[in-house]
């Protein structure tokens, strides 16, 4: 409980700090100008900085929650939101929207394509896994789906007639929170709220799953229902996030793992704690990329991967040492 209050406080402080950050460093003057009612200040604060901070909060929070949910479902600390293939499919949807001209012809075409890709992934996952009640089947389906989405994305890039468009898509895929508007927030928000609610309903089932699927079933938990809740919830929330920001990796992997000891390793309270945990980490990383600045902005997805991948390696080594 204390950890929860502490993490939300930290998230609040980081969100305020994020509002004080300009594209190339600390610039709190804008906030003062905006509070004075000055027009340019208000524009910058509410049209640029606020959506960016809100998206960091929402995307980070849902990535943390989705990571905790899927690690609980797969009973594996190495699971992350991308593992069920939904991130790859959302990215593919966005890429298709980009090349088909959808993103140019209607507002928000790119994120809408991403959401459609994520929804398609959910339908495929549920169809693939419906014949088999085991959770491991879902994992395999997710890996296959990721590979397929990756291949089709590569195909789209390969066939692109326009090298500039290719560069643009590649940069978008790297994941960033810059130049996002309130419309992006409002597009993603409903999916994230519904998805998060579904995931938070998984708490008790994930607790029971601590002792395996048979024991969980014998404790009155329906594995089928739990799996559907977790997958649909994670896919909605993560898919919407990828659709508006591109792929931001490793947040969902690191956050639950770091916070798990604070709740005695119990899966249910970890869900609640991982929301502010993911939000805080993403806000901090997004502040960091702006502090670093430079001629070319370091993409948030690149930054989280640079921190996350070595952490992942360390995690694998530590787990293998414990098993030995």
């Amino acid at each position: 409980m204390r950890a929860l209050v502490l993490l939300w406080s930290l998230t609040g402080v980081l969100a305020l700090l994020s509002l004080c950050m300009g594209p190339t460093g600390f610039a709190p003057g804008i906030v003062a100008q905006a509070l004075d009612g000055e027009a340019t200040g208000r524009l910058i604060l509410f049209e640029l900085r606020l959506p960016r901070a809100l998206l960091a909060l929402l995307v980070g929070g849902t990535l943390g929650l989705a990571g905790a949910t899927l690690q609980g479902l797969f009973r594996n600390p190495l699971a992350e939101p991308g593992i069920i293939g939904v991130s790859g499919c959302a990215a593919l949807g966005a890429v298709i929207a980009f090349y088909s001209g959808l993103s140019a012809s209607i507002p928000l075409g790119l994120p809408l394509g991403g959401v459609l890709g994520a929804l398609l992934a959910i339908a495929l996952l549920l169809a693939l896994a419906a014949r088999d009640a085991r959770i491991s089947t879902l994992l395999l389906a997710g890996v296959a789906l990721s590979a397929l989405a990756g291949a089709l994305t590569a195909l789209a890039l390969n066939l692109s007639p326009n090298p500039y468009a290719t560069v643009e898509v590649v940069f978008w895929l790297l994941g960033s929170l810059s130049d996002r508007s309130m419309e992006h927030v409002l597009l993603a928000l409903p999916f994230m709220v519904v998805g998060s609610a579904l995931m938070l309903f998984c708490g008790r089932g994930l607790e029971a799953l601590t002792l395996g699927e048979d024991t969980a079933t014998s404790l009155g938990v329906s594995i089928r229902r739990l799996r559907s809740l977790a997958v649909i919830g994670a896919a909605l929330a993560v898919g919407a996030g990828v659709a508006v920001t591109g792929a931001i990796g490793f947040v969902g992997l690191i956050v639950p793992h770091l916070l798990r000891p604070l709740v005695g390793h119990r899966p249910a309270p970890l869900l609640w704690l991982s929301i502010p945990g993911g939000a805080a980490l993403t806000l901090a990383a997004d502040i960091a990329v702006r502090l670093i600045g430079g001629a070319v902005e370091l993409r948030l997805g690149v930054a989280t991967a640079l921190i996350g991948a070595p952490f992942f390696l360390w995690l694998v080594l530590r787990l293998s040492r414990r098993a030995a």
Binding site: A208, T210, L211, D214, T215, L219, G220, S222, P267
Partner: protein, 258 residues
């Protein structure tokens, strides 16, 4: 006292029957051992009793009511199942792990109440695990883990307890302690069906034995009656040494028959 009974239970896999049992049951107050050679279908039958494996034929009923027609949570409150490996995915505390046994009793969105905590404390006491309550489950020895898993099942205050090899991989003192504990729990009215591999222990501690071979019940009755030389030769293909101490018959596998 409640009773869990299977009638004409048939389970098939890959086109052939792996279980074909006319009747198998466990009643409140008795400790029943399910014994038989490897591959006889003991775990499959136990899982069927726990409503974890679908039946191709026949019925499984708790006090005459089909297991499948019971609400899953009511079924979970009344019938507990402890699987063989029992590995916990997360290094939670023993108290939290035992608390999982209370899940079927919790109302939606409710937290554990004093009644739940009392039941956990009672289960820890009944299994001699109080001193482990604060320990992380990944620090337990095999014997301690077996007790804790048993405590988890007991905490739900079930009427029927189904155990898959509760004394596998334990040293002799731990085996005796666990089986004595199971006898005590049965004495308090719990009906226990346990898959056992240790013939001497099964013979000494169980009120009744179900002998399973090739998915069929070879014999079902008190150890004194069913553990005859000829029966054991047929079941395991072994010759046993036997004797008596304090009015109790003991058996010891002596050699495999050619």
């Amino acid at each position: 006292m409640s009773h869990l009974t299977g009638h004409q239970v048939r389970i098939a896999a890959h086109g052939r029957d792996i279980i074909n049992v006319a009747q198998a049951s466990v009643c409140g107050g008795e400790l029943v051992g399910l014994i038989g050679p490897n591959g006889a279908g003991k775990t499959t039958l136990l899982r069927a009793m726990a409503h974890l494996t679908p039946l191709q034929g026949g019925s499984m009923a708790l006090d005459g009511v089909a297991m499948g027609s019971l609400d899953p949570r009511e079924r979970a409150r009344r019938v507990a199942y402890v699987e063989q490996s029992g590995a916990a995915a997360w290094p939670v505390s023993v108290a939290d792990l035992v608390g999982l046994g209370r899940l079927p009793h919790l109302k939606a969105l409710a937290k554990q109440g004093s009644g739940d905590r009392d039941a956990v404390a009672a289960a820890l006491a009944a299994t001699g695990c109080q001193h482990l309550a604060g320990r992380s489950v990944d620090t337990l020895s095999s014997g301690e883990r077996s007790r804790v898993l048993l405590a988890r099942a007991v905490a739900g205050k079930p009427e029927i307890l189904l155990l898959d090899e509760p004394v596998a991989a334990l040293d002799p003192a731990q085996q005796l302690a666990i089986l004595t504990l199971l006898r005590d729990l049965a004495g308090q009215g719990l009906g226990i069906l346990a898959v056992l591999h240790d013939l001497p222990l099964a013979a000494r501690f169980c009120h009744r034995l179900i002998l399973l071979k090739n998915g069929q019940v070879l014999a079902d009755g008190s150890p004194q009656i069913v553990l005859q030389d000829q029966m054991l030769a047929e079941l395991f293909g072994i010759e046993v040494e036997s004797g008596e101490r304090d009015g109790q018959r003991w058996v010891l596998p002596w050699r495999a028959l050619p």
